[in-house]
């Protein structure tokens, strides 16, 4: 039954994708005209990342200023431990320098590239660490709390942040909780299902359509 539903959805997606295919490669151009904050970061982060990839350590030093708050913030959120977050953030940032030559603008935005490395590393760490049990208990208790990090308040000036918050609000309650527990909590979808006391297939689907809705909202607000 669920399969049939997904197929229907996919058929719709396919049509959408056809017209949208060039968007990924066009992303840096599309963001260039926008006015504020993180958007500007995105553009120069790409340039700096490409220059870092050519061995320009000065460019990397500048890149550090742009991306380190994101890397550290992701680690801190997922790991919930300052010492570990510093450690993992350092690994991630060194890895960004080491592998910058592999970055290709056509593979997505620099922000996404950086965030992907940081998130995956943080998640790997949290899953392998002994503290996982402890952390699970804590976060289980927090599962019903809105996923707003206090640190974000300091950065709220940024338009982009408000956009993400606003777009998160367009999700249904279950989509919202599934997506945020997975991303901010670093849980697998199976763990999310357990935390939310919801069927595993349902959680899988909600993460996916929740992210889809988030994407649509973020794009509409550009």
């Amino acid at each position: 039954m669920r399969t049939a539903k997904l197929v229907v959805r996919r058929a719709g997606m396919e049509n959408a994708q056809c017209t949208h295919t060039p968007r990924t490669s066009g992303r840096p151009v599309r963001t260039r005209g926008a006015p504020v904050g993180a958007v500007v970061d995105t553009v120069s982060a790409e340039t700096l990342l490409l220059r870092s990839g050519r061995g320009e350590h000065d460019a990397f030093t500048e890149l550090y200023g742009l991306v380190s708050p994101r890397v550290y913030g992701i680690c801190l959120r997922v790991l919930r431990d300052r010492a570990q977050s510093e450690e993992v953030a350092q690994e991630v940032l060194v890895e960004i320098w080491r592998t910058a030559s592999r970055y290709d603008e056509r593979l997505g935005s620099a922000t996404s590239w950086v965030a992907t490395i940081a998130h995956r590393r943080a998640v790997d760490r949290v899953r392998s660490s002994q503290a996982a049990g402890d952390r699970e208990r804590r976060a289980a208790a927090e599962a019903t709390v809105a996923p707003v990090d206090p640190v974000a308040d300091a950065a709220e000036r940024r338009l982009e942040h408000r956009q993400v918050r606003r777009c998160l609000k367009t999700l249904t309650d279950l989509q919202h909780r599934a997506v945020t527990l997975a991303y901010y909590g670093g849980y697998t979808y199976r763990q999310v299902a357990a935390l939310l006391d919801t069927a595993v297939p349902t959680v899988k689907t909600r993460i996916r359509d929740g992210l889809g809705k988030l994407r649509d909202c973020l794009e509409a607000s550009r």
């Binding site: 399969t3 997904l6 197929v7 997606m13 994708q17 295919t21 060039p22 990924t24 992303r27 993180a38 550090y64 380190s68 708050p69 890397v71 550290y72 913030g73 801190l76 510093e86 953030a89 350092q90 940032l93 320098w97 910058a100 030559s101 592999r102 970055y103 290709d104 056509r106 593979l107 935005s109 996404s112 965030a115 992907t116 490395i117 998130h119 995956r120 998640v123 707003v148 990090d149 640190v151 974000a152 940024r158 942040h161 993400v164 918050r165 997506v179 945020t180 997975a182 991303y183 697998t188 979808y189 297939p201 689907t205 996916r208 359509d209 929740g210 992210l211 889809g212 988030l214 973020l218």
Partner: protein
């Protein structure tokens, strides 16, 4: 099965899958155009979730990172280093590190898995048209096999029976000393043929393999530097190519 993998795309985009599922999703993305397009977008959306997390790290981190990076070498931008050993009497096996293909494939190796390889296939504006490697990736009959290597890393083979060629991406294998080389083999009924020897000490490489013939298995072994005439068993990866 395929629907099962397909439904994991969202969870994959937020790293909410286990390693095995991640590999299956990424292999699936190579074969499913609409899924891959969706995956790109969901991953971008997921990345935006970090917009609300920006937190200034302690100043010492900057010092440590800049100190570490100033003495840390970078992975070479894709460029040829040494010619691979060519064995007389074996199939012609040119090994390339084409600018874009290798960069993107190396990225695939880094963290995005096979996913980025798909990007190569989809990049219509890429200057890939002349390259044989791109031709393989874009071949209508191209198929893919992915396997985790014993001891770490993975081997990805994109092959086209029509072109009689394959692109083999070997990534992040267990580290070996300069006195050892990884070697790729084509195995068919008649036995094994070397498909290329990686530079001593290298644990990642991208190669184009010509003359696939009736190859049933693409294998990988750990050999003395420069390679061997016969594979040293056991193979650390053996990918079966469907007939």
């Amino acid at each position: 099965m395929s629907d099962d993998v397909h439904s994991l795309i969202g969870a994959w985009a937020v790293d909410a899958v286990d390693d095995d599922e991640r590999r299956r999703v990424e292999a699936h993305l190579l074969e499913c155009e609409s899924c891959a397009a969706e995956a790109v977008e969901l991953r971008e959306a997921a990345g935006r979730l970090s917009d609300v997390l920006l937190t200034d790290p302690p100043p010492e981190l900057r010092d440590r990172v800049l100190a570490a990076t100033s003495r840390t070498g970078q992975e070479a931008a894709p460029a040829p280093r040494r010619r691979p050993a060519r064995r007389p009497g074996t199939l012609r096996v040119p090994r390339r590190r084409l600018a874009l293909g290798a960069a993107a494939l190396a990225l695939a190796a880094a963290f995005a898995g096979v996913f980025a390889t798909w990007q190569v296939m989809r990049s219509t504006d890429a200057p890939l048209a002349e390259s044989e490697m791109a031709a393989v990736l874009e071949a209508p009959d191209a198929d893919v096999a992915v396997q985790r290597a014993e001891g770490g890393g993975r081997v990805t083979v994109v092959f086209s029976a029509e072109l009689d060629q394959a692109v083999v991406v070997v990534s992040d294998l267990a580290e070996i000393g300069d006195d050892r080389s990884y070697q790729v083999w084509l195995v068919d009924e008649a036995g094994q043929t070397s498909a290329g020897v990686m530079d001593p000490g290298d644990s990642s490489a991208t190669m184009l393999v010509d003359g696939l013939g009736d190859t049933e298995i693409v294998g990988l072994t750990n050999e003395p530097a420069g390679g061997s005439d016969q594979p040293t068993e056991p193979m650390i990866a053996d990918l079966a190519l469907p007939a």
